[in-house]
Amino acid sequence: MKVRRALLQSSVSAQVVVLIVAAVVCGAVASALHPRGIPWVGEWARRVEALAERDGIPVVGLARVKELTDRGGGMILDARSVESYAAGHVPGALSLPRGTFYETLVGLELLLSREELVVAYCSGPECDDALAVALWLREQGFAQVALFVEGFEAWRRAGYPVEVGG
């Protein structure tokens, strides 16, 4: 009864604390019982790479992308927004923002062959736009789709040339 009275008559700030504690307790119980429950700490830093691994999209590094821009042998796709692309992108990369897939498919088919290596990137290791583009391309029948997971951030940091404009 004492507890009950304390819960009912406490000040607003104390009640807020009660609500938060109750939410933590409920969350812990529900999370343990939920069939698709998640752990309290997730692996978010390597999330995109892990997803690519799971979905069978090979990950390529900075050196491989540099080689592609220097010697050819594959196409590079920029999955960031059109504005980010215009502000600076990997030389020779094509802009294919996430969400404009179907509008650009016809153009892509003219530019790429389905057997050619296609590497997609976005801003950095935390964005999943490039992964979405890579998965979609594979669905469309492109045989060699890879992900440059470190993204434009790493490219710029390495001091490699940047192409500006669209």
Binding site: Q15, I20, A22, A23, V24, G27, A28, G42
Partner: protein, 186 residues
Amino acid sequence: MAPRRISGRGWGIKVTAIPRVQQNEQTRGQTPIGKCCAWGLTPYVRWGAGAVIGGVFLWASWHKLVEPEVFATAIFRYQLVPYVMINALAIVLPWLEVLAGVCVIAVPRYRRAAALVLLGLLVVYTAAVVINLVRGMDTDCGCFSSAAADPIRWRHVWRNAGFMLLALMAFREPRQRPACVEEGGR
């Protein structure tokens, strides 16, 4: 007798004083409950505002409870929270929404605290949306439905401002203001 307009304290919003009422020794100096209160809001209006905002949060919490991973991904995509905290927030926040939503509707003693929690959640969520709008990130809102793509826009901010007003109405102290008593109840 027509209600007189007087200035109350609440952010310059006019409080309408009630007409003169009959009072005896016991009720002198008090204002009849439900007639003259903060912002001229009757308890029914305050409860109604709380019920609306509580309902909105109960509705919003549902998909977050059912699909914690989707909600965690939505938090992740905002790129504002340290990675170690993302899952913990995805586990606790939906329950905070549920508990506060239920309390603001059905537990009168916890109504103010629950409204305060909802107000706090709205402030945090809206700040996250504004920051990412300013940063130009095309994040998915993750507000209500997990399935439908709902990229953040300024309309989300205006909508949340409306929700905040409702939460604030529910939070208002039911105690009568002296101004009301002096002007209207004497």
